[in-house]
């Protein structure tokens, strides 16, 4: 970690977004992670994304569990709301907050341990409920914070720093999310911001549960030879299947997308995701076929990345449960808590 805080001085001609803010205005406190940790790059990608979308910092909610990855919510959008839950319980907090105020932008940051080991149940139910949030897994194959034990995403045969070999099969968050019906599923790499930033922006604008599994090497405990989650291994084995360009509502498409190769998908707020196929024959809108191709890739030690699946028209948590159209704090008190007589009426229906 660095002992010197990043000074406030900035490039004098740093571009400003429509709120008049620079990228630097979306930073949080100083990172205490190990120098070179992939998680810090993801933090930078989130900062870039929030700046690019001109999010009002006070409308951003940052949620996490426990782990090095879960610490990172403190490092971006210092002006947002933050909540660190107990280990693996971030989805419950997200659920409650989202139910109470549907107007905010929810960003959950978790680790492979936090999500796939202790928090697997919560994760599955958040998908099942189609919670409107962006859920980022900073996936390094280990429990970084507790000094590098294998996590549930560690591949069979991968070696720990001291040489121990993992024998248990991994849980792949992408396949799991697709099985459970998540409408927006992506995978990326902390070292590829060009791919990652548009995915994060699309995930934040997308309505419903958006998950991005970001391979994020742990430089301290999982960056050695023999590891399948090191910088070197990831660089060699990751393959972009479909890249996404995120186009905010206001901006025109300027690039020339050749037909057949790219597919524009319009989101509910009018912004667009333009999917650009890279792997031949990969169709990110066909869930079954996509899952088959992802699995086939994994068998060849290839991690397909990018916008792996984008469903359409799914109803999110609020629609599924007939929730009010507004944040609860904007509903008059009498309406929100109609009193014991109204309660009696409700209970009477079950008698």
């Amino acid at each position: 970690m660095t002992f010197m805080a990043k000074p406030k001085v900035r490039h004098p001609s740093l571009p400003k977004n429509s709120l008049g803010l620079t990228r630097r205005d979306y930073e949080g406190s100083m990172s205490t992670l190990c120098a070179g940790c992939g998680h810090d790059s993801i933090t930078a990608a989130i900062i870039e994304s929030c700046w690019g979308l001109a999010l009002e910092p006070q409308n951003v909610v940052k949620l996490s569990g426990i782990g090095c990855s879960s610490k990172t919510t403190a490092y971006f959008v210092g002006g947002g709301h933050g909540f660190n839950s107990v280990h693996g319980r971030m989805p419950s907090i997200a659920m409650g907050a989202n139910a109470a105020n549907r107007d905010l932008t929810y960003i959950g940051v978790s680790g492979d341990g936090d999500t796939l080991s202790i928090g697997l149940g919560q994760f599955c139910h958040a998908i099942r409920r189609n919670l409107n949030m962006l859920y980022i897994i900073e996936n390094n194959g280990v429990y970084g914070l507790t000094k590098g034990q294998f996590s549930a995403s560690a591949d069979v045969g991968t070696q720990a720093k001291k040489g121990e070999v993992n024998r248990q099969p991994p849980i792949d968050p992408v396949l799991l999310a697709m099985t459970l019906g998540a409408p927006f599923v992506a995978r990326s790499f902390s070292g590829d911001k060009e791919q990652l930033v548009p995915l994060i922006q699309a995930g934040m604008r997308h309505r419903g549960f958006a998950i991005i599994d970001v391979l994020s090497p742990c430089v301290t405990f999982n960056d050695h030879e023999g590891s399948t989650k090191s910088y070197a291994y990831t660089r060699e084995h990751y393959d972009a299947a479909v890249n996404a360009d995120f186009i905010p509502f206001a901006r025109e498409i300027t690039a020339d997308y050749s037909a057949g190769e790219s597919l524009p998908v319009v989101l509910h707020d009018g912004s667009r995701i333009v999917l650009k196929k890279i792997a031949p024959g990969y169709d990110p809108t066909d869930r079954i076929a996509a899952m088959a191709q992802i699995q086939a890739g994994m068998q060849k030690q290839e991690f397909l990345t990018g916008m792996l699946y984008l469903g359409r028209g799914d109803r999110e948590f609020h629609d599924l449960n007939d929730m009010p159209q507004r944040a609860l704090n904007s509903i008059p008190y009498e309406q929100l808590t109609p009193g014991s007589r109204a309660m009696d009426k409700i209970l009477a229906r079950f008698r």
Binding site: M4, P7, R10, L14, A35, D40, G191, P217, V219
Partner: protein, 603 residues
């Protein structure tokens, strides 16, 4: 782009903007750090090595370093480099014992220096330690040149001048005062091994307008007038004074006039303010003293009544400016009379050599400017060298000093039978500043302090005598804050591509977004792909070898780097390191040492 050759001596030198801009290449960040540690004498010596007159220059240097200073690109105002130089000079101990010794045994070569200005003094300073015998001829009774005769003592006290001149002269110069050279032929006949002409540009320009002759008693040539004040020949002037011209000489004239009794002083400028030649700080100082600066007035004639000057008539002009502020047209609006008791002409100087005979092989161009080699300072006659204002016309002290250093190298080479053009190349040394995991042997934290303002003697006090120094010098608190503003531009970010694992840590932490990893391309392509705009084309891109995983290159825009070292702190593999660059800018002593080594090798 090809990978940057950081071994080229100019590469890191250019990153140290102040040092690159300083004609004598003073190691500014090094002396500022020494001041920060309270090591004033050491700071003085670092300065003296390059610029020879730190006490003088710390007050009156033209300071080309300051507009170049990187801090001025990050914030508004550059580091007060010049003021800090004065701090070192004011607080130093006696340095006599630290100066290079003059050998008792001479090397048998005799050098004549004409003029005892800063150029000649620098030549003497550099050649004395090598055993040369220096004879210096000065027409006046005191050494110092224009620093003595023209720069007023309220800006540059005589004691400061005396002390720094003595540090050279007392080491064995045969100084002949009151010895004007009237014939180059005669001097050459005395058989010197080399002659250095450091006579300056002593002729003030005339303004030949109607009434000039009739009003002569009250019309003065600026530099002659200042000289007469310096020598005590003039002690008063009329109440209303006009200064014609708006360069630095004009600023000294108007402020001197106030001290000789004038109460209404106007500086008359032909053009709008952005065309003024005077430095911004000199203008500010004059305006602080309530000098009026009148623009768009073009002198037309001196007005004489009953044989006495009563003022001047001017054409009042109006200019058309284009979007870039350039003048595209001008017209006269009207004529205007401005009353005055005295007029001082401050419109420039020229060099003049009535005492150099033709036929000596020393050639002049059609403007009577000597033909002098830009690098060696040798004239068309081998063994005769020019430097300072005499070489290429009026410049300033620090340029004259650098000319002196370069001429000294040539004189040495000439006297040792070597080609004058064959000189040592500059060099650069790099040393890591890493002390521990997060420890560097320099203060790397960015300090947001703003530039300190120089305190002045009150307006009430300062006019009481001509030689009250107006600038008081920084207080201890001001020094402590100002030194922290320096960004240590000489502590370089040095990159090793083979160590990089492309984790992005350095890119994310850089507070001024100067780093980018991107596929290689032409310079224009790379500039277009950087994380933050890199519009300053005078600042280089540092391009690495291809990176091992992706074959991309690491590109650093040097322009706004604040040298905080965070990239190096953040890098898990120490691919970035912070290394102090020391620029080796050869002087005569280095040439002599190289000769010595070469001799030892052949022996």
């Amino acid at each position: 782009m090809e990978p940057t050759n950081t071994g080229h001596p100019d590469y890191f030198h250019k990153v140290v903007d102040c040092q690159w801009a300083c004609p004598a290449h003073t190691d500014v960040p090094e002396y500022i750090r020494l001041i920060a540690q309270g090591r004033f004498t050491d700071a003085y010596m670092v300065n003296r090595h390059s610029n020879v007159f730190p006490g003088i220059l710390g007050r009156v240097c033209d300071r080309p370093c300051e507009p170049a200073c990187r801090r001025g690109r990050i914030e508004d105002k550059p580091v007060a480099i010049c003021r800090l130089k004065r701090v070192a000079a004011d607080h130093r101990d006696d340095v006599v014992s630290l100066l290079p010794k003059t050998p008792k045994r001479k090397n048998g070569k005799r050098i004549a220096c004409i003029g005892a200005g800063c150029a000649s003094l620098t030549v003497a300073n550099d050649l004395l330690p090598l055993g040369y015998e220096i004879t210096m001829f000065e027409q006046w009774g005191q050494a110092g040149g224009l620093m003595r005769t023209n720069i007023p003592s309220f800006r540059l006290p005589a004691e400061v001048l005396d002390e720094e001149i003595a540090l050279i002269v007392d080491r064995g110069v045969d100084l002949r005062l009151g010895a004007r050279i009237d014939s180059m032929q005669n001097l050459l006949d005395e058989g010197y091994d080399a002659v250095f002409v450091g006579t300056g540009a002593p002729k003030g320009k005339e303004l030949d307008l109607p009434g000039r002759r009739a009003g002569a008693a009250n019309i003065h040539i600026g530099i002659d007038w200042l000289e007469s004040i310096a020598f005590g020949h003039i002690e008063s002037i009329g109440r209303r004074v006009l200064i014609i011209g708006v360069g630095n000489t004009a600023m000294d004239c108007c402020r001197s006039a106030l001290r000789l009794g004038a109460t209404d002083v106007k500086v008359m400028a032909r053009k709008p303010r952005q065309y003024f030649k005077a430095s911004e700080w000199e203008l500010e100082d004059a305006e602080e003293e309530r000098v009026a600066i009148v623009i768009n007035h073009s002198p037309k004639r001196f007005v004489i009544e009953n044989g006495k000057l009563t003022g001047m008539a001017f054409d009042v002009l109006e200019y058309d400016l284009d979007a870039g502020g350039r003048i595209t047209g001008e017209r006269v609006l009207r004529e205007e009379f401005v009353a005055a008791d005295d007029v001082i002409l401050a419109i420039g100087q020229e060099n003049a050599f009535p005492w150099i005979e033709s036929g000596l092989g020393i050639e002049f161009d059609k403007w009577h400017v000597p033909t002098v080699d830009l690098k060696t300072f040798q004239s068309t006659r081998p063994g005769v060298f020019f430097g300072g204002d005499s070489a290429f016309g009026p410049k300033n002290i620090i340029w004259a000093v650098e000319h002196g250093h370069q001429a000294a190298i040539s004189i040495h080479n000439h006297c040792q039978g070597k080609s004058v053009a064959d000189r040592l190349a500059p060099g650069v040394n790099l040393h890591s500043r890493k002390m521990g995991m997060h420890e560097w042997s320099y203060a790397n934290d960015y300090n947001p302090a703003e530039r300190r303002l120089m305190p002045h003697v009150s307006l009430k006090e300062r006019f009481k005598k001509i030689d009250i120094e107006v600038e008081l010098g920084f207080t201890v608190e001001q020094v402590a804050a100002e030194v922290q503003r320096c960004l240590n531009c000489d502590v370089q970010t040095v990159f090793s591509a083979k160590l990089c694992i492309e984790c992005d840590a350095c890119i994310d932490i850089c507070p001024v977004d100067c780093l980018t990893m991107t596929p290689n391309g032409t310079e224009a392509e790379l500039r277009g792909r950087l994380k933050a705009p890199a519009a300053n084309l005078t600042q280089a891109l540092y391009v690495s070898e291809p990176l091992k995983f992706t074959q991309r290159v690491m590109v650093k825009d040097e322009d706004l780097c604040v040298h905080c070292g965070l990239c190096a702190e953040r890098c898990p593999t120490a691919a970035w390191d912070m290394q102090k660059s020391t620029i080796l800018w050869p002087q005569a002593v280095d040439e002599a040492e190289a000769d010595h080594k070469a001799l030892a090798r052949t022996a």
